[in-house]
Every structure is written in C-alpha cells, then in structure tokens.
C-alpha cells in the first residue's frame, strides 16, 4: 500500500497530510498512534472514512495524497471524523457562481 499505516487501523497517504483514512470501522475513543503523537478518535469513523490528525481551524485546507482535497467549514479537533458535514470542495461550485451573480 502507498503511504504509512498507523497501528494497522488507518492510512496516511503522504507526509504532511492532515487526515488519515480508516482501514476498518473504528470506534470513538480509540487511540491511534502516529510516531510520537497519538490521536484519540472523537467520533466513530467508518471504513474508508477520514479523521483529522491535527487540529484544523475553520476554512483551513484539508490535505490527503499530499494535495488539497477541500477546506473545513468549521474548526475540527484532532481525532474528529472529517467528511461532508465539516469539509467542503472548493471546485465545480456553480452554486457559488450563481449566488455571486445575484448579489
């Protein structure tokens, strides 16, 4: 597998990524070690879903594959599940373009 496996439970695809991908269904409260640091999951994180490896402020870019995959819509603590409820795309936003036209 490309990337770095944490405790056999999650995968970090590239150095500098701010999220890790769960390799199995992970329960809230589980501690996942990443070298010197440890992250305690604040939420249940289903297989294939992501959690924050570090605290992210609102509007901060989220990195996976060593690339930007979106930005947070609110502050996210380390160990929180990162998905559509707190992270959004910055691309293909015809809705934003339409709202700007109306303004």
């Amino acid at each position: 597998m490309k990337g770095r496996v944490l405790d056999g439970a999650a995968l970090v695809l590239a150095d500098g990524d701010s999220v890790a991908t769960a390799l199995e269904d992970l329960d809230a409260g589980r501690e996942v070690r990443d070298g010197d640091r440890a992250v305690t999951l604040a939420d249940d994180v289903p297989f294939g879903h992501k959690f924050a490896l570090e605290p992210l402020s609102a509007g901060e870019t989220v990195r996976k594959y060593g690339e930007v995959i979106g930005r947070t819509t609110e502050a996210v603590a380390a160990g929180e599940w990162v998905h559509t409820h707190n992270c959004e795309s910055t691309r293909g936003r015809g809705d934003v373009a339409a709202a700007e036209v109306e303004r």
């Binding site: 597998m1 490309k2 990337g3 496996v5 056999g8 995968l11 695809l13 991908t21 769960a22 390799l23 289903p46 297989f47 294939g48 879903h49 992501k50 996976k64 594959y65 690339e67 930007v68 995959i69 979106g70 990162v82 998905h83 559509t84 992270c87 959004e88 795309s89 910055t90 691309r91 293909g92 936003r93 015809g94 809705d95 934003v96 373009a97 339409a98």
Partner: protein, 396 residues
C-alpha cells in the same frame, strides 16, 4: 509476464480479442428491433440499443454517428448490421459505408422498408447469419501486448479505489505502456482538483493546454447550469464510501492511469492510437457512457475498478472488474475478476496486484471470459449534449 495472445486480425490491421457481429440501431426507434435480432441469433451477435431520438441537433447527431461508427469499427467486431427505423436523420447506408471503409462486412436494414418489425426480425436474422459466416473468415493469429488498446474506468468508487484498486490498475497500465501498448482513461469531471498533477505529466505543451481547457470547460458547465457539482460529485454512494469532495475523488481516480507521460487527449469516441502510450479521452463522468466512448475509440478491453461494487459490462468489449474493497470482493465475487482488496489487507503490494491485472488482461485478450461477459452484462449509452452546452459550443 506473458505478452502474447491470439486474436482476430482485421483488414484495418488492428487486432480484435473477440469476433462479434454488431447490431447497431441508428435511434431509439430501431433499438428494440436491433436487440431482438441479436437475441435470437445467439451470443456472437451483440446489439447496442440506445436512447437517442430520430432527430437530434447537428452536433449531437454527429456525436451519435461517431459513436456508432466507432463501435462498428472496433476490432472486436467482425461484421456489422446497421438497423434504422427509416425516419432518422442518421442515414444507415452512410454509417455502413463509414464502417466498411476498413474492409469490414456491413449490411443495413430498414424496419419501414421491409414492412414492420416481424419482417425486420426475419430479414435481420438472415443478414446476421451471412455476416457471421463472413466474420468467421477472420485470420485467428498470434499478437503482442503492444497491439492492445485498454480503456480504464472507475465506477461506484469508495475510499479503497484511490488506495488500492486504482493504483494497482495504474501499475498494470504502466506495464502495458512499457510493453508498447495504449492505455486510456477518461471522465473529465474527475480530473477536477487533480488536473495540475496530470498537466505536469503531459508530454508536450499542446496536450497540456488541451487538457486544462477541457477540465475548465467541464467545470464551467457546472457554472453554466448554476449548480453545485457536489450534488453529483462525489455521488451519494461515493460519499457513503468515505469520499468527501470531487478533489479527493479525482486524486484517487487519476491513479488508475499509472505514472507514464500523458501523450494526448482525444474527444469523446474519437479514435485512440495503437502503440500510443497513455492517452486521455474527454468524456462525462457517467461510467457507461464513458466506457462506450473508449470502445468507440477502439479499445478492445476495459479494466474497470469499483469499491462499492458495479456489474457494468459492454456489448463488444470484455470488461475486467477490479475491486479494492475486501467486503465487495466477498459479497459480489461472481461479478469481480481481480481482487485488489489484498492491498488494503496488507497481503499483497500494489505492484503484485498490478502484475495480476496485466496477466488477466492478456488472458482475457486470449479468450478468457470476464464475469460481466459470462453474465451478459452489456450496458450501452451514448452521451447526450445538453442544450445549454450546445449553445455554449455554438457561441464559441
């Protein structure tokens, strides 16, 4: 690693991996009859029923014609029957001529002219039998992997697609390109957010400019319609599988093309080169239409990755299914061909699975049937050009 397979040499010089007789309706009005004719004939006859109307705007009609001619010219097709209802703008005789230019046996049938569906089924059946005899004359000979044009597709993606199945298929594409073949992937909306990575890999400035222009046009389509791509990209199923944004989906999706330079980008259903390395095709993100575009471009085999599970096939090209999700491999075993879930479980490396996929492609080229073929999964759809897109194209 094996490199040889036995295929069907066509007059055009290209090699087919199957010897089907295609039954191509020119519109929705002749699609049922086309399907009926092929169904009665047997598994060697493959119909491509579709939803396009008898009268389309010029640009859309040209695209429909390009797809039908392309499928007819696909080297997996030994002979073709073009079926019209008789009122279509598309002229069956013209399509037949364009397909026959390569020296392929082609006939036409008009439902109205022969006197309705019953007569058409009967006449079609007779025509198919003689076309099949003609197709059987094809030279069955040994060919090299360098003659393969492999289309790569993904559908029903989840987080394992970008981690396991797509990189493994990418590894197989690298092997194919190293062997001198052509690999092609598409779905332009799924380049959004990853186009800078692809642009860096373009072999020349012209390809780079064209690629960025196509991505911009797809993104502008969302603006044009005042919609948020997030409604469809990632799809609700993708989101359930853990994909949050189109950027995340794209970054995972592009890995299925491997790591070699991007040699070019062709239009939907435009001819793909033999021995061309990695070539992109500008298609929509809808997997069935995207597969059809590449088959019309001459791809003999499609390698299709899925995370959540997909059973999609194609009438004339075998579709090899690869899943990186161990649960999908277990649950949908009969529809899957290669397990990349071993990567997620730590039992195999991406390169090991890549080699397995390459071997499977060669075995399928040599005649091994895929799960989709065994179950006669033969989805077919042609991309429609949206009226607002049409206005945009015309205004340009």
């Amino acid at each position: 690693m094996r490199r040889e397979f036995t295929g069907y040499r066509r007059e055009s010089g290209r090699i087919g991996v199957r010897n089907h007789v295609a039954v191509l309706p020119t519109s929705v009005a002749s699609s049922c009859v086309a399907r009926g004719i092929a169904a009665e004939a047997g598994a060697w006859a493959r119909a491509t029923p579709h939803q396009m109307g008898a009268n389309q705007p010029d640009e859309a009609r040209a695209q429909t014609e390009r797809v039908l001619v392309g499928v007819g010219r696909n080297p997996n097709v030994g002979a073709a029957l073009v079926v019209e209802f008789g009122t279509e703008d598309i002229d069956a005789a013209d399509l037949a001529d364009r397909i026959a230019r390569d020296g392929k046996p082609v006939e036409t049938l008009s439902v109205r002219e022969v006197g309705g569906t019953a007569a058409a089924l009967q006449r079609g059946r007779t025509a198919l039998d003689s076309l099949n005899e003609a197709a059987a004359d094809a030279r069955h000979e040994s060919a090299d992997a360098s003659e393969l044009v492999v289309g790569v597709e993904c559908g029903g993606s989840d987080a394992t697609s970008g981690i396991a199945a797509n990189p493994a298929v990418g590894d197989a594409c690298d092997r194919l390109v190293a062997a001198g073949g052509t690999a092609s992937f598409s779905e332009t909306p799924e380049f959004i957010g990853a186009e800078h990575v692809l642009a860096e890999r373009c072999a020349d400035e012209e390809t780079r400019r064209r690629l960025l222009d196509r991505v911009e046009r797809r993104e502008a389509t969302a603006d044009l319609m005042g919609v948020d791509l997030r409604g469809a990209q990632p799809s609700p199923g993708n989101q359930e599988g853990g994909l949050t944004t189109i950027e995340e989906k794209s970054l995972g999706a592009i890995s299925k093309g491997g790591t070699t330079p991007v040699r070019g980008i062709v239009d939907y259903a435009e001819r793909l080169p033999v021995g061309g390395g990695l070539v992109l095709m500008d298609t929509p993100g809808y997997d069935v239409e995207s597969v059809v575009g590449k088959v019309a471009g001459g791809a003999q085999i499609i390698v299709f990755t899925t995370g959540r599970g997909s059973t999609t096939g194609n009438p004339v090209a075998p579709v090899v299914k690869v899943t990186g999700n161990p649960r999908t491999w277990e649950r949908m075993r009969s529809n899957m061909d290669v397990n990349a879930g071993a990567v997620v479980e730590g039992d195999a490396t991406i390169s090991e699975v890549g080699e397995r996929i390459f071997d499977e492609v060669l075995a399928v080229a040599d005649g091994k049937r895929t799960g989709a073929e065994t179950r006669r999964m033969e989805e077919f759809a042609i991309t429609e050009i949206h009226p607002r897109e049409l206005a945009e194209v015309r205004g340009r």
